[in-house]
Amino acid sequence: MAERSVSMTDTIRSAGKRLGQKPSSKEFLDKYGSLWTVLVLALVVLVFGLLSSTLFTQAGWEAVSKSTYEYLPLAIGETFVILTGGIDLSVGAVLGFSCVVSGTVMEHMLGTSTGSLGITVLGFVVGIAVGGLCGFLNGILITRLRLPPFIVTLATLYALGGATYIVSEEPIYQIPHQLVTFGQQSLFGGWFIAPVLVALACVVVFGVFLSRFRFGLRTYAIGSNRIAAERAGINVRRHLVWVYVLAGALAGLAGMLVSANFAQTSPLFGNNDELAAIAAVVIGGASLFGGRGNLLGTLCGTFLIAVLTVGLVLVQVTAFWQEVTIGVVIVLAVSVDQLLRSVSQR
């Protein structure tokens, strides 16, 4: 594929060919079938909006967006992992562990002459690095010991859960005020808090990374056909390690966002978060077998869960029914998705 000189006739011919092709319904479904989550999200928003007008107010948006910033980074990382055909059960535990380690470091640094901003930056670096290291551990265990991701991340879920309490049993409130200012900073007339913007920025950046960059393409390839990826010359093991590092680092980032907003680091943070992250990815149309899914779906999945949770609170449904509803939505989401797939495959 070396030469790039396109002759005029070639260009015209292929352009004409493309124009002449009507997109078949198959291709249409293939391209937009995954977007049905957007429709479901719109529908749910509409229904709850009609039931309770609060959803369309600033307070409603605030409640919804506030319950997404923690899950978005986790769900982004989880999407990459699930696209490779793996799963990461440890993201919640990594969140808790990395924020507690970061909190301990920051508490220690507060006694020194380092400024508040410096400690805040350091806190972020430590949180993300510790998260990345946890992901590295996952990746190494999965690729070197050839253990299934489910087993490895189940083990690290337990181990890190314990390690978190070994580092610090109590919440740490001694964190730099700059961090708290950032975490509670409201922007754009109160419509956004800074952590929400950071989370949304992550969706955009990693969405582009996934769909337009080599790393993303290879992530899909590995989940789609690992042997083909190997034969195409991709270093699959190294790539997988990076995918788990990414998931861990994003969990570390999520931990810092939560700590900043809650003005503390707590060993309770992140508990059970992996379930919400996986649910968001699955509702967003990703296949657990790998190779299929995207971050737009994951974004919608995350917001769908958030709108459901907030909406059910607004219409005064008890917490237990909220969880039942989310369970029902997961089943519905996946079965409609499979239905669409079987149509597009025909």
Binding site: M1, V6, R218, S224, A228, A229
Partner: protein
């Protein structure tokens, strides 16, 4: 696109030259199964060599070893006369050895162009390109052109490989090997799922490639095809090469008798 570069080599296998790719005493066992028992093979510029044998004779094993996808238990591989170790597919590919695998090695969720370019993606210039920003447009148009040239019809290069028919998928795998191959092309049953017309296309493609100077090693069960297309036919029987036949001087029936081993018993009985 080195496949279409014209070389001066003649068509006949000239024993005086160094083979582009050679295997010496290759053995392979899977546990207790002895799949290959000391196979020697040489590929010279521009020749089309058939590799035939019954199911389980070891054809795919040999092809996978030559393509770096599988490691031999013993023996050596030489490229341009130099001993090399092909520890992975990428090493073979970097030496210009392209393979159409029996299982095609396509990612069903990726588009046609992504499958063709996977592992050697075209990126844009500059810093973002260094980070891996894909030049999707260049890859699509390149794919369109190279498939056009091979006259393989697959509709849009944007369609997912998994949504194509078995024959179309096979055509993509063949097109990929031809597009990238610059030294040797190995094909493990490249026409098995193809219709008559597409089969003819692949046959023409193989001829074009070999005229360009690249040897093609062709594994197939289609013996009339082997007989009409190949310069030389190697017969693999229970992991050993038992015959080298020249279609110009032998019949399809003769090839069959070697594949089934009948000729072998005859020759040992007779000798």
């Amino acid at each position: 696109m080195a496949a279409t570069v014209q070389a001066e080599e003649g068509k006949s296998a000239s024993q005086g030259k160094t083979p582009l790719l050679a295997a010496r005493q290759i053995t392979k066992h899977y546990g207790s199964v002895q799949a290959l028992r000391g196979v020697d093979l040489e590929l010279y510029p521009g020749e089309i060599v058939g590799l035939v044998g019954d199911n389980g004779a070891g054809k795919s094993t040999l092809v996978n070893i030559l393509s770096g996808a599988l490691q031999p238990s013993g023996g050596t591989i030489l490229v341009d006369g130099d001993e090399v170790s092909l520890n992975s597919s990428i090493e073979a590919r970097n030496r210009g050895i392209e393979t159409v695998y029996q299982d095609l090695a396509l990612a069903p969720d990726l588009s046609v162009w992504a499958n063709i370019f996977l592992g050697r993606e075209t990126t844009r210039k500059g810093f973002l390109g260094w980070l891996g920003w894909l030049d999707r447009k260049a890859m699509s148009t390149d794919t369109e052109r190279s498939l056009d040239r091979t006259r393989i019809r697959i509709g849009s290069v944007q369609s997912k490989a998994g949504q194509l028919s078995g024959g179309q998928r096979q055509a993509i795998a063949v097109g990929r090997a031809v597009a990238w191959g610059s030294k040797v092309i190995l094909m493990d049953e490249p026409t098995a799922a193809l219709g008559v017309e597409q089969q003819q296309r692949v046959v023409e493609l193989i001829r074009t490639v070999s005229k360009g100077g690249l040897p093609v090693l062709l594994v197939t069960h289609n013996l009339p095809q082997v007989h009409s297309l190949c310069d030389r036919v190697l017969v693999l029987f229970q992991g050993q090469l038992i015959a080298e036949l020249f279609p110009a001087q032998c019949s399809v029936e003769e090839i069959v008798s070697w594949i089934t081993g009948a000729a072998l018993t005859r020759s040992t009985n007779g000798g």
